[in-house]
Amino acid sequence: MKKRYLTAVALAATAAIALAGCASGTSAGSGGSAKTLTLAQAQQATSVKDFGGMDGLVAAAEKEGHLNVITLPPSWANYGKIIAGFEKKYPQIKINSENPDGSSADEVAAAKSQKGQSTAPDVFDIGTAVLDQNLDLMAPYKVQTWDDIQSDWKDPKGQWYYDYTGLMSIGYDTKKFPDGIKKLSDLLKPEFKNSVAIKGDPTQANEALSAVAMAALQSGGSATNIQPGIDFFHKLKQAGNFLGTLPTQATVASGETPVVIQWSFNNVGWGPAAGSAGNPNWKTVVLPGTGFGSYYNQAVNVDAPNPAAARLWEEYIYTPEVQNLYLAAGAYPAQLPAMKKAGTVDKSVLAKVGDAPSDFVQLDSDQAAAASTLLAAKWAAAIG
């Protein structure tokens, strides 16, 4: 008997808590309607016009008072400053920055599992491969400067649009390697023992896969054939130079990971630009030859709990002010060509970072899928 009571009470309690969870979920969904637009209407707004202009959008966003962003590390492409800038410009909107070190897949998982809740992400900064598989999560929205993004860098309906790209670069400690790094094969030299790290497992992290793709381009491979890149890392491992740990700003500052292959904006962000948290001797090189990049996309969650703030964030991202912040971090913003034409680019920053290369390779979704399949089969053995 005792046991049965216990189960019954436990079940009842579980049900009560679950119901309470649902109830608060629905109230967050139906409540919070702006004067001008209901939540459902705001979630379907496709441009600033639906809010009656920029003032209407700002008013609606301030009424919501919150914005949930996800997987934006402060040291990544200047996101620390970009978030702070938004909060300064719109002090009535509080930004919740969730899971800063997560992956694009984490963004999608959060949007699905927290659907209808007030904590769900409002906006995505997302890699192309994951984006392509989850287009049903992306609401069409076109920012005011839509025409400044070239047509093959955006979805005609506005479900996604390129934001910025880095180039795969090699960051290294000039104090430890005064001779520098001129070509990829330099990394196979004995003085680089236990030195070269990449940003995770290529079968998990896009940035690590991009390091392999860059190595492939430098070793006679191509976007459709990244095997030479896997072979390079195999040789690096054989030479004892590959370091199987995850580099962070702290391991770069302490000298534990003296060479890191990663996006240029991260290498720049971990160097002297980071001030006391960075490594003052950290140098970023993009090797000559065809570069490797990968645009990250912006998109608005269809079920955004703060739909107006989400759209205001996109408007903010595509202002010259923020696009220049990406550039300062070594990330090339999508509106750079238009900004150069209009003269809104920060010229001193552009001179320092250098212009975006006219030709660099990025993987389309079929190439990315093929590369992933190859890595899933070959990578573990190559560096095992």
């Binding site: 436990a10 897949a105 497992d201 896969l209 992933s372």
Partner: protein
């Protein structure tokens, strides 16, 4: 984990029920006290565990499938399961023995003395020490640029030695850093339950110190010892954050679950995380079953 601790504590049989005490008193409402824990365990342990494992039986589109289990045919998965079991076994055995020796040494000290107090509180703090903080402590001491290897390489020439810290076996000393204190915490009560009178009885009957340990001490302590060792195994088997901060290229089951569930490159395999989680549960069930058998044997001995 909690269940395991209470098991190992229960095994020592420190507080036998008083004969003739009114048994039924308070039983009628006593179960209410258990409700918060049961609800908590169900909500935060039971339901998530069932959901996670169930996800292993479904495809991305929601259809029932066994395809996720094909991951066990891959050599990498097999290697990583072996890696997880090996690391957990070594760190549990070494941790249990070292912890038991420390407990033995502590027995000689006054229970309320300052050294005992320090070791007790240090153990409870260090047993919870893990994740990125612990990883960094070891990078600073045992990394390639850490004190140990910098000194060694200065003496024997540059690049003579490489730190093993970023490999699966290299995690053993890191894990021992929290395994040994956990052993001290959980095993000490059992050690304290050894009555000095038993030693005196053995001596009176002409036994040596060795006879005492061989015939009394070890048999009495064995169930608690193995219970604690299994707790240590589970603790290391399920560890993730420390390993993830040190190793980026996989090699452990917990890292495989992370990779499968969060991958942004190899897509459509997220539900393999569920079948990998099932493998973890199966390993733990097998261990618990073995422990149950051991304990029943030990209890039979105790009845005689």
């Amino acid at each position: 984990m909690t269940a395991l601790v209470s098991n190992s504590r229960g095994a020592e049989g420190a507080t036998p029920r008083r004969r003739g005490a009114p048994r039924s008193r308070g039983v009628g409402l006593g179960w209410i006290g258990l409700v918060p824990f049961t609800v908590y365990a169900l909500l935060f342990l039971g339901i998530p565990a069932i959901l996670a494992i169930a996800s292993g039986f479904f495809a991305e589109n929601g259809a029932f499938t066994l395809a996720n289990f094909s991951t066990f045919a891959e050599p990498q998965t097999q290697k990583d399961i072996a890696g997880s079991i090996g690391l957990s076994a070594v760190s549990a055995v070494v941790g249990a023995i070292a912890g038991a020796v420390i407990c033995y040494a502590l027995l000689a000290l006054r229970p309320d003395g300052w050294l005992r107090t320090i070791v007790d509180s240090a153990s409870s703090v260090l047993a919870q020490f893990g994740g990125v903080m612990l990883a960094f402590a070891f990078i600073a001491t045992m990394g390639n640029q850490g004190i140990l290897y910098v000194v060694l390489n200065q003496i024997f020439g540059a690049n003579t030695f490489s730190s093993p810290l970023y490999t699966v076996p290299g995690l053993t000393p890191v894990y021992l850093f929290f395994q040994i204190p956990l052993m001290v915490l959980t095993f000490m009560p059992a050690m304290e339950a050894l009555k000095p009178a038993w030693g005196e009885a053995v001596a009176t009957l002409g036994g040596t110190r060795r006879t005492y340990w061989w015939r009394v001490g070890i048999p009495v302590l064995a169930p608690a010892f193995f219970g604690c060792a299994i707790l240590l195994f589970a603790n290391s088997f399920s560890s993730f954050a420390t390993a993830a901060a040190l190793i980026s290229q996989g090699g452990l089951l917990s890292l495989d679950i992370y990779r499968a569930s969060t991958s942004e490159t190899v897509l459509g395999h997220a539900n393999e995380a569920g079948s990998l989680a099932l493998a973890m549960v199966v390993v733990m069930i097998v261990l618990m079953a073995v422990y149950g058998l051991l304990q029943r044997r030990a209890a039979r001995w105790g009845d005689r």
